[in-house]
Amino acid sequence: MTALLEVADLAKAYRGVHAVDGVSFAVASGTITGMIGPNGSGKSTTIDCLSGFQRADRGRVSLDGHDITGLAPQKIARTFQTVRVFDQFDLVANLMVAVEPFRRVGWHDALARTARYRAARDAAEARAHELIELVGLTRLVAAPAGILSYGQKKLLALAAALMPKPRLVVLDEPVAGVNPTRINEVADILRKVNAAGATFLIVEHNVEFITGLCDHVIVLDQGKKLVEGPPAEVHSDQRVLDAYLGIDERQTSAVAEAS
């Protein structure tokens, strides 16, 4: 397996708080990689830096071997922790905002509705309908996104992220606040898209969801990488339990007595 995304020694501080403090990891091509960690462990800052929404203080991000540090490449798509959709647009119009399908179309083509523009638009519309069907929102296709439920908006945001045919999709808490009965649906959709060739990096608090879905899990704690490995291994790692649940006092005192 080759590494699609490589992050080396990434660091970002906010007024002296080291949100991310020298994190290195890789996302292998074709996998679903999970990133977990307690609140404030630097997960969101990490993905903000690698998708170009924050400028890292230090470190290097490369995609397919190309240095993309500080850039916002179209090959990396992302969703947001607080769900974002274009409330006033219907579902198709939401997906049509993506620039990538229109990269060969000039503004004058758009203004004069040339054949080139219409061809790009028709192709993009067809893809938008496919993606809406993939996430199971076809029934609501004509509705403005503002009337969707929270979970439906998350699915729409996922479809929108897939619109530019990205190499890597970064999802920030895709199932937080989603009705538990629908979480499996989301996992199924992600598996389907993954099988079609997209690589995922998923930040999530729902450990069960991550364990069931991911090939590889990275655990962050206090801005540093704590552990990484296959989900089952990480799941039972004492350091991970300590980071999440706090260190058991009896144990610590036992260690102290022994030494």
């Binding site: 998708s51 929404f53 916002a72 179209q74 798509a77 992302r78 947001f80 974002r84 959709v85 274009f86 409330d87 006033q88 647009f89 119009a93 049509m96 905002v97 993506a98 620039v99 990538e100 229109f102 179309v105 503004w107 758009a110 203004l111 004069a112 509705r113 523009y117 638009r121 029934r139 609501l140 004509a142 509705a143 403005p144 009337i147 929108a160 992220a161 619109m163 530019p164």
Partner: protein
């Protein structure tokens, strides 16, 4: 159906001068057309791109002074005056917009407001160029191939042609992918960015195009008034453009065009009661805002949404 409606509206507008035979009514509709174009330009900037720009008033005034000065001072003709107005406005809008659009929402409002006030001060105090409060009177009627637009009905057709061209352009822009992208930026800029859009380029384009169209409207309108003076930068004009956009429904093309024609004619239609007409006008505005908080277009959008909700149940 739409084409038919459009043709009928155009025919009705073209029939205004002969059917009323009154320079007064023709003049009111003429003003309505000019203000509608300026409002549609503000709609591009505010309604589509979400930028509450008071600079439109400055561009309107700069356009008026540019065309007047070109003719009265620099020996050009009316058409060259229009070209100068468009070019000067484009340059100033780019220079003002580039730094201003990088600021936050509120700072943008304040800076554009200051810019408009500054334009008024320059018009009043740069006496050697603008003749200050005296203004530049006696603007001659424009002519084309020997045909002089010297009467109100003749000038009306010049304005009608300009309005059709300008509104046609703004319509093509607003309903194109560019218009959709602007509305996307207005709704959620970070999301638009994550979809590959460069918001600054789009906002700057909207700001500059809005400035050019507004400037052209002002440049033509001073030749109807036959004078340009610092009152041409009075806040009354900005207020009219804003009322039209808000009543029509920010971000909707036809709503704004419809509101433009109605709202400009309304104060004139109320002249039957000269003492109370502005009071009645104000009352109508308040009621309109209570009943149609998102404008005419917003009302229709709400009805459509209600129908859609019902169909999904």
């Amino acid at each position: 159906m739409k084409q038919l409606l459009f043709a009928a509206a155009l025919l009705a507008l073209a029939a205004v001068p002969p059917s009323f035979g009154s320079n007064y009514i023709t003049g009111v509709v003429l003003s309505g057309l000019v203000f509608t174009v300026a409002a549609a330009a503000l709609n591009l900037v505010y309604g589509y791109a979400g930028l509450l720009s008071f600079a439109q008033l400055g561009f309107w005034g700069i356009g008026g002074y540019c065309s007047a000065l070109t003719v009265m001072r620099f020996g050009g003709n009316f058409w060259e005056g229009l070209l100068v107005a468009a070019l000067v406005n484009a340059a100033i809008a780019a220079a003002v917009g580039l730094p201003t659009l990088r600021t936050g929402r509120h700072a943008f409002v304040i800076i554009t407001l200051s810019f408009a006030l500054l334009c008024g001060l320059v018009a009043r105090d740069w006496v050697s160029l603008t003749r200050g409060p005296l203004g530049i009177p006696g603007l001659p009627a424009p002519s084309l191939f020997g045909f002089a637009f010297s009467t109100v009905p003749r000038f009306y057709y010049l304005v009608l042609a300009f309005a059709v061209l300008a509104l046609g352009f703004l319509f093509a822009l607003g309903t194109s992918r560019i218009g959709d992208t602007l509305r996307a930026i207005k709704q959620n800029e970070p999301l638009a960015r994550s979809q590959g859009v460069s918001p600054l380029a789009y906002k700057l384009a909207a700001f500059v195009i809005g400035a050019i169209v507004t400037g052209l409207a002002g440049a033509i309108y001073v030749f109807y008034l036959k004078i340009v003076d610092p009152l041409f930068l009075d806040f009354y004009y900005m207020q009219t453009f804003l009322i039209v956009v808000i009543i029509g429904g920010a971000g909707n093309f036809w709503g704004v065009v419809l509101a433009g024609l109605v709202m400009v004619a309304l104060p004139e239609a109320l002249r039957f009661s000269n003492d109370l007409r502005m009071v009645i006008y104000g009352a109508i505005l308040v009621v309109a805002m209570l009943v149609l908080p998102r404008g005419v277009a917003g009302w229709f959008a709400d009805r459509r949404l209600a129908a859609l909700r019902a169909s999904l149940k």
